[in-house]
Symmetry: C2
């Protein structure tokens, strides 16, 4: 059953109407539905396209396990090394964990996920294989894009680049990267490998860049140079990009202009404790921006609930967005922005678009963000996949 009539719903908060879904796609007003198509009374709830989780780590969540007592050290490398060890000591199962988290996302109205998945010389492709299996199991419930992610570094751990190559052959969709200076200590070599893998496999790039200030700006320049040299405009994303939060706003503005020119995208998680890209500045410059939860309940930290409406709120709080038009920007980042970065075909609410959508409770989109009530309904390809805040498929 992928034909459906959503009665009495308000697309993006507009006036109430009836929305028909035919064969998994939104239909033009007045399109007749097949005999016996389900009719759902939406009771005036807002209809929005599915939320887009554009940056998370499905393979490493500890959801469903006993509480993990976090006593990890403060440095980035402490967290990376602790995680590799804990995966073994807890016997963490990437397939099970990724299915748990993905279904939590579904319950919150997310219809598309981009997940970075660890590739390293200790765990090989176990993460990639596990998340790929979850992707297959959840086909028709949520779309999952896999980024091969060298979490432990490539240059500092020989053999990783070969594993990245194998991961991309095995079905990873995007080439990941990580702090070319801060972690890998050799920015030229790191980025040359990332972009060579992208060229070899014909796949886009999404690089974690936590490096601050001038250091991060330097790495970002190297990314921009390679993007233009290889004609990869529109295919490269920088996640986090904390350097854009640098105190030197003129330098940040120049870098932002360069991103717009090369059509390099930004994905933010809007953390409150560090400098971050200013989403209004990115929007003004025309830089495509998406958002994600980052790790959810993992060895890095206990936070996260996979709710991209909560992420919109956190983007709003971080960027001091108070006006309704400003909250609309936060919502756009958590929907259309991520979808455009992932180049999702047929994303939206127009006739012909794929019926991947969520009902939101609230008088306005802004109210939906600040109240974050359980989602009454989530549909994927016209099929109901969650109701009243719960995914229909039980988690493993």
């Amino acid at each position: 059953m992928t034909s459906l009539l959503l009665r009495n719903t308000r697309p993006m908060g507009a006036a109430a109407t009836d929305i028909a879904i035919l064969d998994g796609r939104f239909a033009a007003t007045g399109t007749p539905l097949p005999e016996g198509a389900e009719v759902i009374d939406c009771e005036g709830a807002i209809l929005a396209p599915g939320l887009v989780e554009a940056h998370t780590h499905l393979d490493k969540s500890l959801l469903g396990l006993p509480w993990y007592r976090n006593e990890v050290g403060p440095r980035l490398i402490d967290k990376i090394e602790n995680e590799r060890a804990v995966k073994v000591s807890l016997g963490l199962h990437p397939q099970v964990q990724s299915e748990r988290q993905a279904l939590l996302s579904v319950s919150k109205g997310t219809t598309h996920i981009r997940s970075h998945v660890d590739v390293d010389t200790e765990h090989g492709l176990a993460g990639i294989e596990g998340v790929a299996e979850t992707r297959a199991r959840l086909a028709g419930i949520v779309d999952i894009e896999i980024v091969a992610f060298p979490q432990s570094g490539m240059m500092i751990r020989p053999g990783t680049a070969e594993l990245m190559d194998a991961a991309l052959s095995a079905g990873a969709d995007v080439v990941g990267g990580l702090d070319p200076c801060g972690i890998d200590r050799d920015p030229k070599a790191h980025l040359d490998i990332v972009f060579a893998l992208a060229a070899k496999h014909g796949k886009p790039v999404d690089i974690h860049l936590h490096e601050r200030d001038a250091l991060g700006a330097f790495s970002m320049e190297l990314i921009l140079e390679r993007t233009k040299a290889l004609g990869m405009e529109g295919l490269v994303t920088v996640s986090h990009a904390f350097c854009l939060g640098m105190a030197d706003r003129a330098a940040a503005a120049a870098l932002t202009e360069a991103l717009a020119e090369a059509r390099v995208h930004i994905i933010t998680t809007a953390p409150a404790s560090t400098a971050v890209p200013a989403v209004k500045e990115l929007a003004a410059a025309g830089v495509l921006t998406g958002a994600g939860s980052d790790g959810i309940r993992d060895t890095w930290g206990p936070y996260g609930n996979a709710d991209m409406l909560e992420r919109a709120m956190l983007i709003g709080l971080r960027n001091n967005l108070r006006r309704d038009d400003e909250l609309a920007l936060a919502f756009d980042i958590c929907t259309r922005g991520g979808a455009a970065i992932m180049a999702l075909p047929g994303y939206g609410l127009a006739p012909g678009d794929r019926a991947d959508a969520v009902l939101l409770t609230g008088e306005t989109l802004a109210e939906a963000i600040v109240t974050r009530a359980p989602r009454p309904l989530v549909v994927k390809g016209g099929r109901v996949v969650a109701r009243d805040g719960a995914a229909l498929r039980p988690a493993p």
Copy 2:
């Protein structure tokens, strides 16, 4: 009925036990309860003392009204002037609005509230009278402390100081103040009036200080000087105190030491978009720290749900608290810290303490913070006031 047996509950996450409440207070283990005392199976939930909302504005919430479309200008004074006007245009009723917000707090497990309440020459004491009426109506459900708050300035609006004096005579518990430089343009006169009112009425002080960097540090020095000169150590609080987030960490550390020495307290809302006091630095220096939601769903901004567990999460996110012992600090600020600042008698879970408490769902306190599930039970003076996330008394 203020005697009660809480069966199978885990005080602060410790091993499960039974906790008796006799005549509104926690009783020693084994104390016999009166015939017919209610027994509640807590199913292993964590028992904590009631959450403490130490900084909010009960009189100005728009809860329960149609969505307020925020199109307000960016400056502080834009928001202040817009609010005075909107109170009239919406016919905002301080009693009704404060009761709505206070009952929302109760539903989340808050048992004590410190509310700043506007006093100005346009609205006079209407806010104070409205919140005082709510305080009387909700006696036995939640305790409300009223701060007379010159939101629109005192020196720049003649007549306000006299109204502040009248508010304190009429039942306000605390003398408020606001940006002696930034808003009132005359820091000496502003603070001299605040402290003179405190001396006259024998009441403590709680001053909003949004001023940044060196300006805020200057105002804070003036507050410290008056605190010591008047022997008011332990009776003065600075809310927000953004200047403690200044880039010059040595200057912030010196100021923090001075706060500790004068026993001046800090209340934070941990906003993500501006510099804030670092809670670990305050704790290390011995500065008593509480927390609050600030305005909830008002003309200043749409955020807030009165959940002090969410505030603990936001404190954690803002201060990069990831370890369990760090989340314990965030929880402490949202409970014991605010209680100590408000000098609440008998606050805690020890025998003899007032039975103001909340059940939390989670394996640990940290899990309770990150999941923020509806509170199974809230008790005030041993009386059940909320169950399963809903206050028993209906909101107006």
